[in-house]
């Protein structure tokens, strides 16, 4: 049994690794297939062909693709992801601090999403069909369907410009995270609330709930001690996947709120044709998503004894 679990964990790790290498290769090739010369973009319209060639060669862009890829992978393994064309710094040094900013934002957004989502979902489930239930579900539908940038700008208008409670954009202290976290977590809160609600309602209809009631548990105890844990199983998976989504999907939020995170860095890299930087950020995002899925699977296995055995 234990041996099985270890093998299966190793197998999953291997699959994850293959996925990441695949993404790296794909990104590498795609970025070089895009029409237009990055060096020409870098140097501007007035650069002569000779200079472009010289610089291309110094950047290693004139070598055959497989050689370039091998160089890249070898460098990446020793922690060297190249140097940004536009910013002139090692990609690692640019990505590091940006990732920390994004991580802080994602944690704040996840807190908003999960606390609000679970609380609303639970409340709606225990008051099924009542006005609050319909109100919460209506709001959560709005949460799922409103685009992030709209929520972001609404929040900026109301809380920053109109009420002056919070800064409009930028991070100087923790208050700077409040609005972006809500904007980014809002949609996730909606889907968590909906899943918690349906999952709790489904659990409360199971036979073992009757058994627990027949033992002498009150309704509230049955909810907290029996139904909630089982209802949270699918929610845990959703949350783990959401977290990687929040980490990698903050492009718009970071742009609207001027946060120097991975998303904003990627956007800069795209507009500047900064191949090494874009490779770095894309690879990081791929890594985060693959890990998020892996963690989601593992968490599900750990929390459900029926799955644990055969992981």
């Amino acid at each position: 049994m234990r041996g099985n679990a270890t093998t299966s964990l190793l197998r999953r790790l291997l699959y994850s690794l293959i996925t990441i290498v695949g993404v790296a290769a794909l990104v590498f090739v795609l970025l070089r297939m895009v029409p237009g010369n990055p060096v020409a973009t870098l140097l501007g319209e007035r650069a002569d062909a000779e200079t472009v060639e010289r610089i291309s060669s110094s950047l290693g862009l004139d070598k055959p693709l497989p050689v370039q890829f091998a160089d890249y992978v070898l460098g990446a393994l020793s922690g060297d992801f190249g140097e940004s064309f536009t910013l002139g710094k090692p990609v690692v040094d640019l990505i590091g601090p940006a990732f920390m900013n994004t991580l802080r934002l994602a944690i704040a957004a996840a807190l908003v999403a999960w606390v609000v989502g679970i609380a609303c979902g639970l409340f709606a489930a225990t008051h099924k069909g009542a006005l609050v239930d319909r109100l919460f579900m209506g709001i959560s539908l709005l949460g799922v369907s409103l685009p992030v940038f709209m929520v972001a700008m609404l929040l900026q208008y109301v809380f920053a410009r109109y009420l002056h409670w919070l800064p409009v954009a930028g991070i100087s202290d923790w208050t700077g995270y409040v609005l972006p976290a809500i904007a980014l977590g809002w949609g996730s809160a909606g889907s968590v609330a909906r899943l918690v609600r349906s999952s709790v309602i489904e659990e409360l209809q199971q036979d073992y709930i009757d058994t627990a009631r027949a033992k002498g548990r009150t309704k509230r105890q049955v909810l907290v001690l029996h139904a909630l844990r089982n209802a949270m199983l699918p929610v845990i998976t959703l949350m783990a996947m959401q977290f990687s989504g929040l980490l990698s999907g903050a492009f718009i939020t970071e742009t609207v709120f001027s946060i120097n995170g991975i998303g904003r860095l990627s956007v800069q890299a795209i507009t500047g044709r900064d191949i090494p930087l874009l490779q770095g950020t894309t690879l990081l995002i791929a890594f985060v998503i693959v890990m998020g899925n892996l963690v989601a699977d593992l968490l599900y296995g750990i929390s459900d004894p029926r799955v644990r055995k055969g992981v």
């Binding site: 073992y208 058994t211 002498g216 004894p305 029926r306």
Partner: protein, 325 residues
């Protein structure tokens, strides 16, 4: 000292649906004496499980007890609120459900699920509660209790799971155990084991109310039997009397539908038709549309329970004739 453990009088439990009131239990009275095993038999949908749920105070919305009284050990249950009922449930009256596969919490170790009952009703140390759990688990015939204590429900067979359910129901030594179709989901050999176990429990002084559509189970376990049809009691008698001298055409039908090694006819009888829609019952006897001995009175006048012998009551117009069957 009281002689009866449970006394249900004129119990009415209704469901209030869009199509009107559905009388799932209609004026049912029954009594379970100390140490007695009482059976309720009837087809699916005749209201037998609803009697059990009413006694447990676990009728789900939109259902509601609308009348009658339920007295357990001299205590009226229908006037208690949920908090007071929670003290009674599990301690004085407990229940074993039909489906052992789904009646246990899938993500909780079975030992903890049994132990939980003690924790709810008594202030004892964890070690004591665990010890009592192990004792009751071995008392219901679970082998290797120490290992099974930590097992999850999906790791146990159906029979073992039902034993766990019975252990859970018995750990507080309740005065009444309600078993709602306890063997229906099990195969025949396991069924026999569970019946033997319930029989043993009944000998220790616990009163048992057993609900089944299976007359074989009832015959093996019960001392006294109630036959239910469309929410009402149509016949009640001592178990031997009922099997020797069944009077209601419905009871006849049920007996005819049981296979027996001794029965002469090779083909099992069936009762034509289905249990009527409880929201729209016939004006007279609810069994009349399916009854092969239906008379004019049956369609218009509802029969009442009448004593026809020692401890034998019948709810049928046929009682009026001397030549009953």
């Amino acid at each position: 000292m009281l002689n009866s453990t449970l006394e249900v009088s004129h119990l009415c439990t209704s469901f209030f649906t869009d199509r009107g009131e559905v009388k799932a239990v209609d004026d049912v009275s029954l009594r379970v004496d100390k140490g007695q095993v009482v059976g309720i038999v009837g087809e699916s949908g005749c209201g037998k499980s609803m009697v059990a749920r009413s006694v447990m105070g676990l009728v789900k919305k939109p259902g509601k007890i609308v009348g009658g009284s339920i007295v357990l050990n001299g205590q009226e249950l229908t006037s208690l609120d949920d908090k007071e009922l929670c003290e009674v449930r599990g301690r004085d009256v407990s229940m074993v459900f039909q489906e052992p596969m789904t009646s246990l919490n899938p993500t909780m170790r079975v030992g903890r699920q049994v132990q939980e009952v003690v924790a709810i009703h008594e202030q004892v140390s964890k070690e004591q509660a665990r010890q009592r759990t192990l004792e009751i688990l071995s008392a219901v015939g679970i082998p290797e209790v120490e290992a099974r204590y930590d097992a999850y429900p999906h790791e146990l067979s159906g029979g073992l799971r039902q034993r766990v359910m019975i252990a859970m129901a018995m750990i507080m030594r309740p005065s009444l155990l309600i078993a709602d179709e306890p063997t229906t989901a099990l195969d025949a050999t396991v069924e026999a084991q569970i019946i033997a176990l319930l029989k043993r429990l009944a000998h220790t002084g616990t009163s048992v109310l057993i609900i089944s559509h299976n007359l074989g189970v009832i015959a093996q376990l019960a001392d006294y039997v109630y036959v239910m049809y469309a929410g009402r009691i149509v016949e009640k008698a001592d178990v031997c009397e009922l099997f020797d001298n069944p009077l209601h055409p419905y009871t006849h039908g049920l007996l005819g539908a049981v296979s027996s090694l001794r029965s002469q006819s090779k083909v099992l009888q069936t009762i034509p038709g289905v249990v009527p829609n409880l929201a729209n019952l016939p004006a007279g006897c609810s069994f009349a549309p399916r009854c092969d001995r239906c008379m004019a009175a049956c369609d218009s006048v509802r029969p009442e329970l009448v004593t026809v012998g020692a401890g034998h009551e019948l709810c049928c117009h046929l009682t009026k004739g001397v030549d009953v069957l």
